[in-house]
């Protein structure tokens, strides 16, 4: 039997119409809130799975090709072969663009997923008709899928049949997707402004007041992850960022000057150093970004735990697994420099844990009946559909 502690806010929730009232429309199977929530988690899941596949099958191979072509360009400069230098740099550019578009696909898919979760949380404050909010959710999701898919295609479509000199059709489609997301977000902002301008009361939404065990675990764990990421970022900026930038320039200068002087050992040393530097930069930035992103994800998911229609045990386990994976991945990524594939494998396992936990929560939300009378502030057990 759950123990309810009195508070004015809880009382206000009781005095209002049942908490489900305002959200019934939005959390109906195809209501705006559920669309944003399921669509958002779906985007994050797809982005993470894509990121894992990309990391395992493309990232390292691509980095090796970039390194090999840069070495070939340096050696061509050493031999005084200008044409070979330019040809190798063209290859480097192509490989970097390929890599860049894959990373952009991964990042934008996940970031739009986060934005969708945010908009899902804010829906009760968006003072627009339910039908319009539903349309905005569809527009947002259309743009959120169009942009990353188009970015993925940039490398393959190139400038074919493009009316512009530097931007291809895939880039144009990606920008259009971004515009759709921007418009939908802006419309939600107008809805929020209308809410606050109209001096309406607090919408009847029990989600922010939920204090279930899994919700508290995710909220506190998420804050700790964000702080960890901020401290790591601040340390990196203070200790390594400017040093790495200076090294980037000086190693390239050594390569080209060594090549001009015909000094092969200087070129080879600079090439080795450059490869190591790129690795060090990549793992530090990845650890910083992932720690904060997973922290934000945990906090946002904390609000939606009442909608996860699973047993309390499953909910607590999925929350714990999500946090364990969220800590494991950013901690192990920087260790890849020292421990290589072992640390990389553990980091990938962390990513897998997050994917599994998200999938469990997504299924739980899909199972939520969204029927009248289901209170979001009742005990977890009572929310499980029979």
């Amino acid at each position: 039997m759950p123990t309810k502690i009195y508070s004015p806010q809880l009382q206000a929730l009781t005095d209002d119409p049942p908490t489900g009232q305002s959200e019934r429309g939005e959390f109906a199977p195809f209501g705006a809130r559920r669309l944003f929530l399921l669509g958002g988690i779906g985007l994050i899941l797809t982005g993470m799975i894509f990121g894992d596949i990309f990391a395992v099958f493309t990232l390292h191979q691509n980095a090796a090709r970039v390194g090999a072509n840069l070495a070939a360009a340096a050696n061509a400069a050493l031999a005084g072969n200008r044409q070979a230098v330019l040809a190798n740099f063209q290859n480097v550019g192509a490989f970097l663009e390929n890599r860049g578009t894959k990373v952009d696909t991964h990042v934008h898919m996940i970031d739009f997923g986060y934005l969708a979760l945010l908009l899902a949380i804010l829906q009760p404050w968006v003072a627009l008709p339910d039908g319009l909010k539903k349309k905005l959710a569809w527009i947002f999701l259309a743009g959120a899928w169009l942009l990353p898919v188009s970015v993925y295609l940039i490398h393959y479509v190139g400038l074919a049949h493009s009316p512009m000199k530097t931007i291809g059709w895939a880039s144009i489609a990606a920008d259009f997707g971004g515009l759709l997301v921007l418009l939908a977000t802006f419309a939600c902002l107008i809805g929020l402004w209308m809410h606050f301008r109209g001096k309406r009361g607090q919408p009847a939404d029990g989600l922010p007041s939920d204090r279930s065990a899994e919700g508290r675990l995710l909220f506190a764990g998420g804050l700790a992850l964000i702080l960890l990421g901020f401290f790591h970022g601040a340390y990196y900026a203070a200790a390594d960022l400017y040093k790495h930038e200076a090294q980037d320039y000086s190693l390239l200068a050594q390569m080209s000057a060594g090549a001009a002087a015909g000094a092969r050992p200087v070129v080879n040393n600079a090439l080795t150093g450059y490869g190591q530097l790129q690795g060090a930069k990549a793992v530090n930035i990845a650890a910083h970004a992932h720690s904060i992103e997973f922290g934000l994800l945990a906090i946002m998911l904390a609000f939606f735990q009442p909608y996860v229609s699973l047993s309390a045990r499953w909910k607590r386990s999925s929350a714990a697994v999500l946090l364990a994976g969220s800590l494991l991945l950013p901690v192990c990524v920087p260790l890849e420099i020292r421990y290589g594939l072992v640390a990389g494998g553990i980091a990938d396992f962390g990513g897998l844990l997050i994917i599994l936990a998200l999938l469990v929560m997504w299924i739980g939300i899909l199972r939520y009946p969204g029927t009248p009378g289901v209170s979001v502030t009742s005990s977890p057990e009572s929310r499980v559909p029979q």
Partner: protein, 167 residues
């Protein structure tokens, strides 16, 4: 809705829209040109090395350094404005969990908002000036964010008059 929550949510959404608009502008009007400059100047430097032309080599490499410096910061600014905006909104929604008086919570919310605007702005200013002032602005901004977030975390962990608790 309390003032601190309102400040975080509205400020966060405005910052998100601003960050996205900035990113869209940058992608359409500046990013492709910047990437072209980075690639061509680096290739030009190595080609000059092949021609044994140290003057062009150094000029091209310097051009690469400047273009890369600006590009990295532009992307950082875009990402950090949107990321911090999301953090503001999410914290705003859950700010009732911070067990501090409203006045202190408003102070923390202002610190977070100021830091979220100023930190990327300092990074952006570094593209115009390599002097110490933009760097100091960025450091101050990040200090505001970290300090305020630390305060909010302590408030969440602290045993206070946490509202609406259902155990």
């Amino acid at each position: 809705m309390s003032g601190s929550r309102r400040l975080l949510i509205i400020g966060g959404i405005a910052l998100a829209v601003w960050g996205m608009s900035y990113g869209l502008w940058y992608a359409v009007f500046a990013e492709h040109q910047a990437l072209d400059t980075i690639g061509s100047s680096l290739a030009g430097s190595f080609a000059a090395a092949a021609d044994r032309n140290p003057v062009v080599m150094e000029t091209s490499l310097e051009q690469y350094r400047e273009a890369k410096y600006v590009y990295d910061r532009q992307v950082d600014v875009h990402g950090h404005w949107i990321g911090l905006a999301m953090l503001l909104i999410v914290l705003g929604i859950g700010f009732d969990r911070v067990n501090f008086p409203e006045r202190l919570k408003l102070f923390l919310a202002m610190g977070l908002l100021v830091g979220a605007v100023v930190f990327p702005l300092g990074v952006l200013l570094q593209t115009f000036s390599h002097g110490p002032l933009p760097r100091a602005i960025a450091i101050a901004g990040s200090g505001f964010v970290i300090g305020s977030l630390l305060g909010a975390t302590i408030g969440v962990v602290a045993r206070g008059s946490s509202p609406a608790r259902v155990d």
